[in-house]
Amino acid sequence: MTDYRVEVRVTPRRGILDPQGSAVQGALKSLGFGGVEDVHVGRLIRFTLQADGDAEARERVDAMCRQLLANPVTEDYDVRVEALAAA
């Protein structure tokens, strides 16, 4: 068993309206930050996971995303899995 540090980034699905992102973009603009485009607001979910190898860790996190962490109808997700050095 290996300990993994997992990060799941959930963002509004590409191409569908993200009113939160638009509002943040507008606020950045009004603060004078030029050249800012394509702002999106999402969630970061971080946890540690014990798994038998990288492939199993990824597979399990993917299942978590599909069942709970992301809504496939409205959101995209991106998984990062990194083995922690043994203590």
Partner: protein
């Protein structure tokens, strides 16, 4: 006739539903705590409005996996009527019992006010006391009520006649101006293909007596009672 109202931690319209059944219909209503695994022989189930689990993660996402949802799914699979109102609609979508999902209102504002609804289907278990084309005045109160689904899903819903309510103006005209949250095709309520699971963002249980400003929601409960009397 016995109707169950599921209470999740953070539900806040459970009493309104309970009262609409008890006083509006004069029928028996019971509360069912979300941790139970027993529907106590009810004839219909309501998933009420509120902010289950504080809307953590996504509205309805965690409640969709509450213990009682296993029984609610089995009950629906057997043809039992299930209605999700507001947060209940979000829970039904998150549980995969209805297609699509509810996103942040396009305006980003929490909208709490009466709206007009066009009845598109008056032949369901929940709407038989209305007529197609009726315009109802019923309140909404939500921050995440923007209905979204893939275009092909929306086409399928329309083709199957699964769109039950649409937002409209006082004359029954459906337009972007009368759409309070940016919902796709102004959809306010849908039903599953089998016709026994309905989800809607507006609150019929808050429109059951003149004191509340409208009695247009009573027909919703009366329709369900009439349906249960038939089956």
């Amino acid at each position: 006739m016995k109707i169950g109202v599921v209470t999740f931690p953070g539900s806040n319209c459970d009493y309104d539903c309970y009262r609409a059944v008890k006083d509006g219909l004069g029928a028996e209503a019971i509360y069912i705590w979300h941790k139970e695994h027993d529907l106590h022989g009810v004839d219909a189930v309501f998933l009420p409005g509120g902010f289950s689990y504080g809307d953590y993660l996504r509205a309805g996402a965690i409640a969709a996996h509450s213990p009682i949802m296993r029984e609610v799914k089995a009950f629906a699979a057997g043809g039992g009527p299930v209605a999700g109102i507001c947060n209940g609609f979000q829970i039904l979508c998150e549980a995969g019992m209805l297609p699509g999902g509810l996103m942040r209102n396009r305006t980003l504002k929490f909208r709490s006010r009466p709206v007009h609804l066009l009845v598109e289907r008056a032949d369901t278990a929940f709407t038989s006391e209305y007529a197609t084309g009726d315009v109802l005045r019923i309140p909404i109160a939500h921050g995440e009520g923007c209905y979204f689904a893939a275009p092909e899903t929306l086409d399928e819903l329309e083709a199957n006649g699964q769109v039950v309510f649409r937002y409209c103006d006082g004359e029954g005209l459906v337009s972007p101006a009368a759409n309070p949250n940016g919902s796709a095709r102004s959809i306010a309520g849908i039903i599953n293909a089998a016709g026994n699971v309905l989800g809607m963002m507006p609150h019929p249980e808050r429109a059951i007596e003149p004191l509340l400003g409208s009695t247009d929601g009573l027909g919703f409960f009366r329709s369900l009672a009439a349906h249960l009397a038939r089956v």
